[in-house]
Chain length 201, copies 4
DNA sequence: GATGAATGAGAATTCATTCAT
DNA sequence: GATGAATGAATTCTCATTCAT
């Protein structure tokens, strides 16, 4: 293993610990010394791997965004040709997100609650990630409208934001309750709402 | 004006300023001195009206929750007998929320992003408010299912969380973009999504 | 009652309250607001009667010293011609001091413990009072040596300091215990020690 | 030198500086910044060695009490069988105390004047130390009464308090005057008073 | 390369004093 | 004359960052 690889591994280790601790206690309530203690290292060591506490937060957020994006990358926004197929895609995406949250149950909390009030730059970074997710949802919806299996009069932008909000805040709520996550029920509930609405027919 | 009224007025003034500043810069990035400066007062003055900075935050949050609850209090969750009527209720609620957000554009940001990582007690307070909103949505949905104008197989809990997420995070997005808020478009987009889903028929 | 008399009365009232509170909680732990509250007056009022908190302390100490001096003024240091007579004087002085302490049980504490670490000027003032008491004891002892009823080889200065220490710290101890003050026992114990020493004969 | 030894040494250094400064200026008039300045260190450094300013005071007082107790520990309260022997013991104790005061001329001032009005807990700590000294004197006196070389009718409790007051406040007076301390004269004066009283025979 | 002791900028809070009402 | 709201200097304590070992 080269020297660079060792450095990378240590950085990843620190990011993993910091992700958890930042999500649990918040950026401002977590000291560099806390992170170092959890790592079992001196807190001077920390500065060999990151320029500053803020620099670490940037890496932590980038890592979180990367993981979420990776979970979504398996699906192609243009792949579906029927509502049935799109619904199946959404279910697979939902399942992937739930798997992610089950492994890293602090990911959402990190992004939505704890990282935003640090800095204008950090806020912008989080917003940018949210916009990416929004654009992704938009392209799925556009595909469906173009191919005619989604409503022709769909306001794609508004709907995309609504769908994302439903998913993200729903996920946050799912985590808040400590109940074992019954992912199937959540996914069914959300896809039903998204595809069919609440009205009886 | 009695002395108590003067005290109340000054407290409200401080809460108004702090709501804005906390939302803009975050609780931790805002010093008592900053708040005092914006008030045009010495920072000792602040402590005549609030016990501590944390005490102020509690008041700020309570005030925010009160305003949101007040905006929702005009409607009765059991009033509607048809999907049509319920949709009209939702549109009125949406309009009320948009009016609220137009006046206090930091309200949502305050609750969702900036207040949560201060303290376990503060987190609990925000969660509690979120749960109230969730329960409220649940009672609307239950009314519709009971009366038969909403889908009989609706998973009320999951759907309520989805709907609230759609609204809250959607609102946050709406504010994030600084575009003049076209509330009618947002409301139509969200009600269409909520009542009819995205599928073409 | 003239205006000046009203001012004097109010000043004495404040001094009385402050003597107690300073003795109980210490100068630094007592705020101007505390004194005002006990007086049932606004704390701005305080400044009509005293220049500052420190000025009040000066008056409080002067008053305490005056009371102690007054309690000692009834006896004449040159009056005794025999050890018997001097012992009677000492017993009367002791009784007078105990009466004083019973009325104002904070007087000693005020002088010995709570007033000294405020200021160089205050420390000097307390020392000066202690020196007066010391000189007074010296003149009693000198009278006895001159008249031959006290030991000819008495080191008057040292003995005077010893006797005063015995009395003052003894008094402080007597107050520390909350036991009802059995003044006769204390006076007998101290005069026996002072006149006869501890050695068996 | 181990790390723990370095920490201990630095703590002792801080205690030594603080003992002097607290005694000179008083606890309340001494800021943490003052102590740090005298140490030639940043004031953050202080908090590496003591939890708080109050914690430092506790250590300072404990150290002072330890030194006084150590100076008294060489003598055995039950060792003397004659007044002559006891007087010799008292003279040795007096000499030891004077040596102590010559080295640490702020010790007594610290205990009697400057430490008492900080806190109920601190007051209790000082009182407790005073009670220990009182008990020690009592056991010397009891030994003498039991063996018959001190007066059978001695009120041991009262006398012990008187003797301690004589010594402590006498010592304080001795220090107050800046005259070179002529310890022999003080010791002779006090032992004469204590053993023989002032009456001519 | 790792460490953690030292540092001081910065933050919250207190309280004696002033002064407009 | 009395009041207490306003003030800001001063104080204690925290913690990100540096750097000598």
């Amino acid at each position: 293993m080269t020297k660079q690889e060792l450095v990378d591994r240590r950085q990843r280790e620190i990011i993993a610990v910091a992700s958890r601790v930042f999500a649990e206690r918040g950026y401002h309530n977590t000291g560099v010394a806390d992170i170092a203690r959890e790592l079992g290292a001196g807190h001077g060591t920390f500065y060999r791997y990151f320029e500053s506490k803020l620099d670490l937060l940037r890496h932590v957020l980038d890592h979180a965004v990367d993981r979420i994006m990776a979970a979504l990358a398996d699906e192609d926004p243009g792949a579906s040709d029927t509502a049935q197929e799109y619904r199946a895609q959404v279910e697979r995406i939902g399942a992937a997100l739930f798997r992610l949250l089950r492994d890293d149950d602090h990911l959402v909390r990190l992004l939505t609650m704890h990282a935003s009030n640090v800095d204008a730059e950090i806020t912008a970074r989080v917003s940018e990630a949210a916009e990416s997710l929004f654009s992704l949802t938009e392209s799925y919806l556009r595909n469906g409208v173009d191919k005619g299996f989604l409503r022709a009069d769909l306001d794609i932008e508004i709907t995309a934001r609504g769908v994302n909000g439903m998913i993200l805040l729903g996920a946050l709520n799912a985590l808040g309750r400590e109940e074992a996550i019954n992912s199937e029920r959540w996914i069914r509930g959300f896809t039903d709402l998204m595809f069919d609405g609440i009205t009886a027919r």
